[in-house]
Assembly symmetry: C2
Homo-oligomer: 326 residues x 2
Amino acid sequence: MKKVIIDIYGADCGPELIIKGALKAMEIYDDLGVVFVGNKEVIKSVTGENERIEIIETDDFIRNDENPQVVFSGREQSSLVLSLKNLKNNDDCIGMLSAGSTGALLIGSIRHLGLIKGLRTPALSSDLPLFNGKLVCLVDCGANIACTPHDLVRFALMGNAFKECVYPDIKPKVALLSVGKEEGKGNDLTKEAYNLLKELPINFIGNMEGSDLVTGYADVVVSDGFSGNIILKCAEASGLVAKGIVDEMAKRENRSDDPLIKAISHYINQTFNYNARGGATFLGTEKTVIKMHGCAVEDTVVSCIEQLLRLEKAGFREKIKKAMEK
Amino acid sequence: MKKVIIDIYGADCGPELIIKGALKAMEIYDDLGVVFVGNKEVIKSVTGENERIEIIETDDFIRNDENPQVVFSGREQSSLVLSLKNLKNNDDCIGMLSAGSTGALLIGSIRHLGLIKGLRTPALSSDLPLFNGKLVCLVDCGANIACTPHDLVRFALMGNAFKECVYPDIKPKVALLSVGKEEGKGNDLTKEAYNLLKELPINFIGNMEGSDLVTGYADVVVSDGFSGNIILKCAEASGLVAKGIVDEMAKRENRSDDPLIKAISHYINQTFNYNARGGATFLGTEKTVIKMHGCAVEDTVVSCIEQLLRLEKAGFREKIKKAMEK
């Protein structure tokens, strides 16, 4: 039985829905076990008795407004640290989910799980939906604010490996986020990274512009975490503003119930509401950690668990290791 | 009579429409004169005889794919350089428009117009429409790829002065583009800039995130040109992808002619199609230069001329000078 560890805290919707989401995934996957980390009564009240469920008890959790460094001192009993430690120490645990503090999860992962050889930091990657139903992997989307050219190389290799796991049949197109497509466009960081990226044994297609994130130009978008974060949030907000225009104009004409309008609004939301959709995967840790968005709901948990199972099946960690040897 | 110089070259639509746009503006503004720079026959064929029009003849222009440095050598007869020189030397010329190479226009402006004291480079600002009809000024949107914290301070002061000229009654809210709203979030550049910005005599409201560009959070968005460029292009493309979803889904249902669908599509386009809308204003040059987008059409010329007249009337250059003294 493959087990997934779930830190029940940190989501806006409260722990109950997170637990329910995990139960839903267990209905789909017969050989899935879940280790919940959190308050026993809360968990039991949702799950009842279930032999595929284990509980690690704690009431402490790290809040988003705390300094992430608290994972180093005195918070050994927090749900986040307990989850990471158990993930590290149990061979049948394939990964964990948490909607807790990204910063604490990042540095906690480095400390408790360790990094794959050749890395100085994990990267945070998001698999963003496109209008055409495909997904584009943006790496890094906010974990690493200051990056070196070699960091971007590692992001490219890991993003490529991630994409190869999810779509074994394609050779992912990897592009570097910059201010113009031509070689030589960009800042010092991207110019140096460009020269390194073109030597890699991946399908590097050169620079891309901010507009190309949402048009399906690349399968993997490589960026420092500062630019990655602002472009991710900007794309999401822009799409949702457009959805707001659809909803508001329809409302004013008393046409909110028009099936076509509803379908359009729903489709734009599905394309751009990254936050509601799922989670971001840490690339480069010795076991896989998925950061669920704060507004995660039941289905978020299901899709994140599916992501963990898919990556495990495809030998994700081995692929990253191999990529790092290059 | 206030005169505006117009480089007729560089727009995808060809010089005729640019000239027609200027004529349209002259119909609206009785005391507006135009100095066209370009081929005399082409200009005359559109304008006929008109005593409010002057022509500076040339057939040479700098292409977008040329190295911008050509403005320094041997291209004295290009429409761009002739426009800048005439702008500099004629007191009754208040500004110029060009759809030519941004890079050539940038370095040509520094060389031929000069910079307001206290500046080491002009900034490129775009006034972007929001869903609510307001405009947000993004500075810098791509002219300055590598910036110092003090550059960002200058961008803030100039963006603030620009906004005060356009909306004399409001105290513009100025925000710094970063990866989180809290003080202390960001990279070294934004962290240092934050400390400087909060000491300025402007309404600095702190950091903003990528999502806040399109939601009306700030009136002036301060950014280095790399981040500014990618976020500008990302917002535009995301909105236009959403518009594409509206159009495509309506088409599939044979409902493209539905007035509400058409109105929604049009409104999203108006909100996000920055490129079709107008131009970007250089802030900090001794006279005002507006870079029209390559896909400028007649109405682009009209709105850019209106922008020049508005800035002139509001004493834009004096406001920037005063801001730089602070």
